[in-house]
């Protein structure tokens, strides 16, 4: 039972070959590109969603911040589609692997930090000391602010990993419990109902993306505009 529970998070191989790369590239098939002005339904819906999201998300940035639009839109599409595809039965979700989320979080966060330090060095350094702190608290507060800065990418990655992994584990557990309780009747109805609610809540994995990109975004905003 223990082995079965975590076996779904093992990176999939097929006869020795790692097919994780194929699984990571799979969501891109579902977003076809087109050169036409008027497209079919699938592409029209996707374009509308992307325009809606990008307008919502990039409105608070200045010109320099809006150069990151493509990056952030690709990010939200990738994480969103990957998480949603992971809700299909038996599928593997790449975002449950901490390695991948760190690979996404650290470069992006570092990019924003370096951009802030390069273009507005004084403002970026001033982040380390909030206004109006008493003088004898300054050394400790600088240390605390440095730690809070360096923990940002870790928090981004671990947040995504933990949320998606926990959701999948819960689905496994509660589904297994439902099957086991099927012979002992009245609880089954209640537990199946809980499974349904859990799945719906898990579809707010898409909200996780929102959290991810939004956090990254707030970071970029702070570094660029303050």
């Amino acid at each position: 039972m223990n082995e079965n529970l975590f076996a779904s998070f093992a990176t999939p191989t097929m006869m020795g070959l790692p097919i994780v790369i194929l699984i990571i590239m799979f969501p891109s098939i579902l977003f076809p590109s087109s050169n036409r002005l008027i497209n079919n339904r699938l592409i029209s819906i996707q374009q509308w969603l992307v325009q809606l999201t990008s307008k919502q998300m990039m409105a608070i940035h200045n010109n320099k911040g809006q150069t990151w639009t493509l990056m952030l839109m690709s990010l939200i599409l990738f994480i969103g589609s990957t998480n949603l595809l992971g809700l299909l039965p038996h599928s593997f979700t790449p975002t449950t692997q901490l390695s991948m989320n760190l690979g996404m979080a650290i470069p992006l966060w570092a990019g924003t930090v370096f951009m802030g330090f390069r273009h507005k060095t004084k403002a970026a350094l001033a982040h380390f000391l909030p206004q109006g702190t008493p003088i004898f608290l300054i050394p400790m507060l600088v240390i605390i602010e440095t730690i809070s800065l360096f923990i940002q990418p870790m928090a981004l990655a671990v947040r995504l990993t933990a949320n998606i992994t926990a959701g999948h584990l819960l689905i496994h557990l509660i589904g297994g419990a439902t099957l086991a309780l099927m012979d002992i009747s009245p609880s089954t109805a209640l537990i199946t109902f809980i499974i349904l609610i859990l799945l719906t809540i898990l579809e707010f994995a898409v909200a996780m993306i929102q959290a991810y990109v939004f956090t990254l975004l707030v970071s970029l905003y702070l570094h660029d505009n303050t």
């Binding site: 999939p12 097929m14 006869m15 699938l42 595809l85 299909l88 039965p89």
Partner: protein
């Protein structure tokens, strides 16, 4: 394919297995699938078929990993 059955092995040996050719096969195949099932009013069926194959593939995967169920 304008080849007779008896001459099929010989014609296969004359193929060029260059990367551009292989990608061309996949591209042409995916364009045919796309135009037939997705690029229409009912594009939902095209996408659902892809997802169904994906689910089945993930189901079969443990059996392909060398007798590990």
């Amino acid at each position: 394919m304008n080849v007779k059955i008896e001459e099929l092995p010989r014609s296969i040996l004359m193929w060029d297995f260059i990367p551009k050719g292989i990608t061309g096969v996949f591209q042409r195949g995916s364009y045919r699938y796309y135009n037939k099932y997705v690029n229409k009013k009912g594009s939902l069926t095209g996408v659902s078929m892809v997802l169904a194959v994906y689910v089945l593939f993930n189901y079969i995967l443990p059996f392909l990993q060398g007798t590990q169920t």
